[in-house]
Point group: C2
């Protein structure tokens, strides 16, 4: 198909397709003349993926290019996938942050994490430090509760990683990491509204307020 | 205390304190001369809070100013707190997104959410649309699992909202929303590493690889 049809197929303006081509987010088509190229279904798929990563995924162009590279060149072992995905998605490391509180927690929960991935541990340490600095104390049992909930989530996710091909596994892990995060945060907020309703707004609205 | 002592107390450069004062993220001190002001413990507390929101919280200066306003001027009812926090923290709304799939889910889970808060529902709709566009199918039971885990989290959180004063309640809800999000995401990634370890790397390392 021509570029105009590709754009229509993926519901993206032609100018955007050209921008993705220039930014190497989309592989070139097959040239049929010096100014014309043919595209196929692989371009439609990739275009949809790029849109999802840049849009709901909230990634930068550089991070997206990086992730696509990993999807196209999967690492040799399934366990390495996760490290690759996490590192590609990590925000730039902050100034040195004390990892000791994180190690204490990981030991308490008996979690075996990637020792060399200091970024993800650093993200947890920074979140804890931020809470403490803001004077927002998370009691130990609340923290354990968060850890339990996230462990349940992760358990199901890792159990579902397909192992039929490295390409499908890395695709699953990368997209699952980046695209499920906004899903989880939106679900938490909606669940909070539901819980708040039940705790604070369960009483029927008085007639005077209802007619406001 | 003088500005230099305030800065030292909160471990922030003096120039940064001045910047926060200019940006109205920090309330003015009491002038003791045309060029000197006195600060107190309320400034130290606020300074720590601002750092946490801008740093680990990942908020912009404008969003931080907005949040502080809500902390200082809490809404009249406890249930409104959450709406205020969620709206202040929401990323700008995307182009119109179809909320029908979200309504179907909320009905299936029997969640009572804020009808007028279309932004949070829009965030969930956008996350679902992104996953679908990327060809990443989340089966219904996996989605139910995510919802269950987030409901557990939210349940505990809302049960812990203090009701002694509106100020402490709004502080709890706002900070809990913004500062717990990076905590949850970091926990999920570490839990994934742990689960991946158990699924893919549980076998003892062969001696040849161990000496690499």
């Amino acid at each position: 198909m021509r570029i105009s049809q590709l754009a229509a197929e993926a519901d993206v303006p032609v100018a955007t397709v050209k921008y993705y081509l220039r930014e190497k987010l989309l592989h070139d088509g097959v040239l049929t003349s010096p100014t014309q190229a043919q595209y196929d279904d692989s371009h439609v798929q990739r275009l949809r993926l790029v849109r999802a990563l840049l849009g709901p995924g909230g990634l930068s162009v550089a991070a997206t290019r990086d992730l696509l590279h990993h999807i196209d060149h999967p690492p040799p072992s399934a366990h390495q996938l996760l490290g690759v995905a996490h590192q590609a998605l990590q925000r730039p490391a902050r100034a040195e942050v004390d990892l000791a509180p994180v190690h204490t927690l990981l030991e308490r929960w008996n979690w075996a994490v990637d020792d060399e991935d200091r970024d993800t541990q650093g993200a947890l340490a920074a979140a804890l430090a931020g809470l403490r600095a803001a004077g927002f104390d998370v009691p130990a049992d609340a923290l354990d509760g968060y850890a339990r909930a996230m462990r349940e989530v992760a358990e199901t996710e890792i159990a579902s990683v397909p192992t039929d091909s490295a390409e499908s596994a890395v695709r699953y892990v990368v997209l699952g990491t980046v695209l499920i995060e906004p899903l989880l945060l939106a679900l938490r907020r909606l669940a909070q509204q539901d819980a708040s309703h039940r705790r604070f707004a369960a009483r029927p609205t008085p007639p005077s307020a209802a007619t406001e």
